[in-house]
């Protein structure tokens, strides 16, 4: 093995592989958590405004800088701010699921308006393309120095949910019922949603918007292993990591120049899922 190949594998490919695995696992497991805890099959990791917040944060940073570290930090910070705002508002009104989801959608819409404003004022020759390209999603810029925050959040988040995986089942029951079994749903739900949001924010900060993984992977995992979160959570992590890694390999090699991962994920991933999983979903989707 020549020194060049060695350097390439160690310093370019490996961090990229690690990033793909982390982003895929994060989006999938947070999607499974959001769907379960918010008791809604239509939601994904974007529902509480975290992705929109991160997108706005990144765009805002790109207005003034090209430093990936600052862009990431800003994306992560505004993503985190979204969930805190959702909870600050939600808590005042009892933090029921309905309140959280409605607040999340509104916060998300507000961030989208802010993002539009940033795009509107961005320099159309230089900054606007950078923002647009960032939003398309991709991990080609992954380097060791930018991967480690994502890797740490992922490792902690995944450990947390693997440990919590049995308890998550109880958070999918009605509040009265869970309370009668000694569980304070509102508190537990808060902790679980904040951890899942951290995972989403750190992923979006690294990879931009990769849309549907957090929606479809949990459904596919449920069709394979059933609705029990003790098995669903590990399955979502595995499937999400594998799929994003495979998609990134294709995005890297399919054409002479790279196809943005967010686009490729939609173009290839969705037809594949429609063909492979729709039948399985109808038979045993795990939802009532």
């Amino acid at each position: 093995m020549t020194a060049t190949i060695r350097a390439l594998v160690l310093h370019v490919r490996l961090p990229r592989i690690l990033t793909a695995v982390c982003v895929g696992a994060n989006l999938a497991v947070s999607g499974a958590i959001f769907q379960g805890v918010l008791r809604n099959p239509l939601v994904d990791s974007r529902i509480l405004g975290v992705s929109s917040g991160a997108a706005f944060g990144a765009a805002l940073a790109l207005l003034t800088t090209h430093s990936p570290a600052i862009v990431q930090l800003s994306a992560f910070g505004f993503g985190l701010l979204a969930i805190l705002v959702v909870y600050a508002i939600g808590w005042r009104f009892g933090s029921s699921i309905l309140i959280l989801v409605v607040t999340g959608i509104l916060v998300s819409a507000f961030y989208n308006a802010l993002l539009g404003l940033v795009k509107y004022v961005a320099d159309p020759l230089d900054t606007l393309p950078a923002i647009t390209y960032w939003l398309l999603g991709g991990i080609s810029g992954a380097r060791w120095e930018s991967v480690w925050p994502l890797a740490i959040v992922t490792a902690l988040g995944i450990s947390f949910f693997l440990l919590m995986r049995w308890r998550v089942n109880l958070l999918t029951l009605s509040e009265t019922e869970a309370a009668s079994m000694g569980i304070n749903v509102r508190k537990s739900r808060f902790v679980v949603l904040v951890v899942a949001s951290l995972m989403v924010a750190s992923s979006v900060a690294q990879s931009g918007i990769i849309g549907w993984i957090g929606l479809i992977v949990p459904h596919a995992a449920r069709a394979i292993v059933g609705p029990d979160h003790a098995r669903l959570i590990p399955a979502s992590i595995g499937i999400g990591a594998f799929i994003l890694l495979a998609l990134d390999d294709i995005s890297r090699t399919a054409l002479p120049s790279e196809i943005p991962l967010g686009i490729l994920a939609g173009l290839i991933g969705i037809p594949v899922f429609l063909v492979l999983f729709m039948g399985l979903l109808r038979q045993r989707g795990g939802w009532r």
């Binding site: 049995w166 308890r167 999918t172 000694g182 059933g226 609705p227 029990d228 009532r288």
Partner: protein, 262 residues
Amino acid sequence: MSLAAIDLCYAYTSDRLVLDGITLSLDEGGVTFILGGNGSGKTTLLECLCGIRSPRSGSVRLDGKEAHRLPPMQRARRVGFVPQIHEPIFTYSVYHVVLMGRSPHLGPFAKPRHSDHEAVAQALDALDLWPLRNRPYTEISGGERRLVLVARGLAQGVRYLLMDEPDAHLDPLHQNDLFSRVRELAIQGFTFAISSHSPNSALTYGDSALLLSQGRPIAYDRAAVVVAPAPLAAAYGLEFELISDESGPRAVLPMRATRTQS
């Protein structure tokens, strides 16, 4: 062992008491029915007895201590609740639904151990539900679901089981199946409080009964005393006729009344 409400009052909003001066003591191994019209406070009373709502005044005492002040896990190992509408959104298997009853014995990061699975198997066995264990809970019949939730209570290890209108939407045969199980468990020392819209269920299967009207107790006594025309008329605003035979009172029948404009 005791679970009792003493002069219990509860309100959701500041201007209206939903429960007003309820005193009630669940005798060990007894079956107490809670009767009353729609909105009379039956469910709220059960939730207060369960310790998940804190009284506005008065108290609910579980073994002498205020129920809503007990650590939730400790409380949940003694008192179980069977909600009226239990529609999990996921198609959990019967086994998993019963296994969730073990949660008061497990920390947030724990997963069920061998002993937990044994408790589930015993609970399913006790109610002859073992053959259903792998069926999705959402696909079994209404009567079977009520029994599964009773099994969940057994797995939970409780001595008191509070059931919210378990006979709703059940045909007479399945009501009889369910309440016969309840009677069998009562003989083994389990204590039940059951809310119901059917005074005759209280008469047939209950030891004592509490009759509520707009959150106030109308009568609280042996079921055969409470389920009688006078208290029922006071609670429901409808005349009842008592049907008796040599064994005692058997049923009450509402008298047909023309709706009067009031």
